[in-house]
């Protein structure tokens, strides 16, 4: 029952390989149904396009395959996603653009689409750099993946410790303590509309950073 709680069951992959002083960092979305031969040809093609030496390829392969294997190891297992609304955060820098945002995401909606969200966000905020969109989508997916995998381990613990209910609640709340209490919002006194004083918390922030700062930040990283 485990799957990404999005419409398309895609895995976020992050690659960070360093060979002979050259560093390759990348993040993208992969379809786990693609055959493994695709991974190899993708790694080779990327290395060729970026003019990286061939020594990069095995490490890239290892990294990607490892993450996919981890994803697949979750796949047969039970996952319990109740209707929970979780806040997700975006805090990333892509080339010259900084994006910081926070929003509520319905985990229980198995039809959600991080890609569409990223596209709309970029369009609405007039982000010109096309590389920002994929980064946002990957970031959202990673957070969702995290939540999903945590719920799997929570279920496992729950099964193991069936007789002891208290720890079950504890582990659940540990994973999901961020979940928003729906009742508070939609109860008799609450309203669906966000209070004005909380608007600033949920407004996206986009900064375009000049090149010098980018160089500085890169070196510190």
């Amino acid at each position: 029952k485990f799957r990404m709680p999005t419409r398309d069951n895609l895995v976020p992959i992050r690659v960070d390989v360093e060979v002979d002083g050259q560093r390759y960092r990348d993040a993208f979305t992969w379809n786990p149904r693609d055959p493994d031969s695709e991974i190899i040809s993708f790694a080779k093609r990327t290395a060729k396009d970026l003019k990286l030496p061939a020594s990069f390829v095995p490490q890239m392969l290892q990294s990607i395959q490892g993450q996919l294997a981890e994803f697949r190891s979750y796949e047969g297992q039970e996952m319990q996603i109740k209707e929970k609304i979780m806040p997700l955060k975006i805090d990333l820098r892509v080339n010259n653009t900084l994006v910081r945002d926070q929003f509520l995401w319905d985990i229980g909606n198995l039809d959600s689409d991080p890609e569409e969200f990223a596209r709309t966000l970029c369009d609405d905020l007039n982000i010109t750099d096309p590389e920002v969109g994929p980064a946002i989508a990957v970031s959202i997916r990673e957070q969702l993946y995290e939540i999903a995998s945590q719920s799997v381990s929570a279920m496992r613990e729950a099964k193991v410790s069936k007789k002891r209910r208290a720890p079950e609640f504890a582990s659940n709340s540990k994973a999901m303590n961020n979940a928003v209490d729906m009742f508070k919002y939609f109860g008799s006194k609450g309203s669906v509309i966000r209070k004005r004083k909380e608007w600033y918390l949920y407004a996206p922030v986009v900064d375009v950073v000049p090149n010098e700062e980018v160089v500085v930040v890169d070196t510190t990283e």
Partner: protein
């Protein structure tokens, strides 16, 4: 080369579905034609005009104006920004069939269109540069597998990276093996391979002549006019084609492909250029001619002359080819001069060549008494001119023959077209008549129904009257009412 504005118009006409491309303004003399090169849609546009325009465009692109030609192979003419064509639906079923058909977002037709439009737009911003998958997918929100498939599809169909190749990279089709330097110098083609003629100080167009003795480069016109210093003979000069050498040398593999294609496809230059890979039709033809036995293949070519009058250079090159075929058996002894004449007539266009030949004939009759030696490689200029005349005469003859041939074929084509048009009209008329028949039948049926309804209306009215009357006499026999009831069920059934 005489009608560049007309050529642009025709160039834009066959390529309507590419809105982002604009025909560049003509600000440079056509003599720069030799430098730039693009591959043209094989359908109908003039290679020369496109080459000229592309040369302008190359410089235009260097000046950072968004005016350039984007060429798309004719087998991809279905592409349009506004819609997804059936070809795409058929070849990329993952986006269009099954559960994906109704999906939106990352799976369905919208996703495909988004990927495709973004990729094509990105490529067209810098059409000389190869768009790599890695670069492209970094700007695309979606999963890598789908993006890669769309990218490969577009690349295969020439909507992306058409005419561009990464140096030393083996592409999906192993047919291309271009050396690095000439390709990369293509977009800036204006600079390096320019030859200035020593005689007239103009840029040499498509070909020029080099002299080894004196290390001189002169253009075609100067060669003909013998505009070089005395002491040099025309035999000392060797003809060099700028277009051929500047771009790239034909590798053995390409030549092999070319030969295979010729064997397989015969005269279909479109297919041949596809088979060879990144060579335009003109290049293939030119290359074939340069091969030692090339003329054998060109034999039957004379029968199929094209009639596109706006197609100067293609016409000329083909005319040149047919002329060469005819001329070479005639005058083997005076090859350089034959080539010269053929070359000349190619440069100036068939009309001018005919006129020149006519003048030559009339002049020749005057000179005839003094000199009767035919084409002979000679040193002095009068003899040279004369052999020009002789050859001009035969050239004129052949031209006439060729044009008569062309006219006959034109007539045939016209008749065919008319015939098929009238057939089409007949079929349409039959269709319309059948429709009319059907409509008439339907009308009849409608009439009948209407009459029936009228009749029913009348009956109903009569019954209503009867009921009302009976109601007025309430003490009347109830049996009568019952009798009235009977007709009603009959009516309603």
């Amino acid at each position: 080369m005489a009608t560049p504005p007309a050529a642009t118009a025709t160039n834009s006409a066959p390529t309507p579905p590419k809105p982002p491309y604009k025909a560049p303004p003509f600000s440079q003399p056509p003599s720069t034609a030799g430098a730039g090169k693009t591959e043209t849609p094989a359908a109908s546009t003039s290679t020369a005009a496109a080459a000229v325009v592309a040369a302008v465009a190359a410089t235009g692109a260097a000046a950072e104006e968004p005016s350039y030609i984007i060429t798309v192979p004719s087998y991809s003419a279905w592409f349009s920004y506004d819609s997804v064509s059936d070809t795409e639906r058929r070849l990329m079923p993952e986006f269009f069939q099954g559960e994906a058909a109704a999906a939106s977002g990352s799976r369905g037709p919208e996703a495909y269109k988004y990927y495709r439009d973004t990729l094509v737009k990105r490529f067209r911003v810098r059409p000389e540069r190869r768009l790599t998958l890695t670069e492209a997918r970094r700007g695309l929100i979606g999963d890598i597998g789908s993006v890669r498939r769309v990218f490969d599809f577009l690349e295969e169909w020439g909507l992306i990276n058409y005419g561009v190749s990464l140096p030393g990279v083996k592409q999906g089709r192993d047919k291309r093996e271009e050396p690095v330097a000439p390709q990369s110098s293509l977009p800036a083609g204006v600079s390096a391979p320019k030859k200035l003629c020593i005689g007239c100080r103009t840029v040499c167009g498509q070909a020029y002549f080099t002299c080894e003795k004196a290390d001189i480069t002169i253009c075609c016109r100067c060669y003909v006019r013998a505009n070089y210093r005395p002491g040099l003979t025309p035999a000392d000069f060797k003809k060099v084609e700028t277009s051929e050498d500047a771009k790239s040398d034909w590798t053995d593999k390409e030549t092999l492909h070319l030969l295979e294609a010729v064997m397989q496809y015969g005269e279909d230059w479109k297919k041949i250029s596809e088979h060879v890979g990144s060579r335009s039709e003109k290049d293939c033809i030119a290359r074939l001619l340069r091969l030692p036995f090339g003329e054998q293949f060109m034999g039957p070519k004379e029968d199929k002359m094209q009639f596109e009058t706006d197609d100067d250079i293609t016409d000329e090159s083909r005319a040149e080819i047919s002329k060469r075929v005819r001329l070479t058996p005639l005058a083997d002894a005076s090859n350089p001069i034959m080539a010269q004449v053929a070359f000349l007539s190619a440069i100036v266009g068939s009309d001018v060549a005919t006129a020149a030949a006519q003048a030559a004939i009339s002049a020749q009759s005057q000179v005839d008494e003094t000199n009767d030696s035919p084409a002979d490689s000679s040193i002095g200029s009068p003899k040279e001119e004369e052999s020009c005349y002789t050859n001009g005469f035969s050239a004129n003859d052949l031209l006439k023959e060729a044009s008569a041939n062309a006219r006959v074929q034109l007539e045939k084509e016209r008749k065919d077209i008319e015939q098929s048009l009238s057939d089409i009209v007949d079929v349409q008329m039959k269709e319309i008549q059948a429709k009319i028949c059907r409509f008439e039948q339907k009308e009849l049926l409608m009439e009948k129904e209407r009459q029936q309804l009228h009749y029913l209306q009348k009956l109903l009215f009569a019954d209503q009257l009867a009921v009302v009357q009976h109601q007025c006499r309430p003490h009347a026999v109830t049996a009568e009412n019952e009798a009235d009831e009977n007709p009603k069920p009959v009516l309603t059934s």
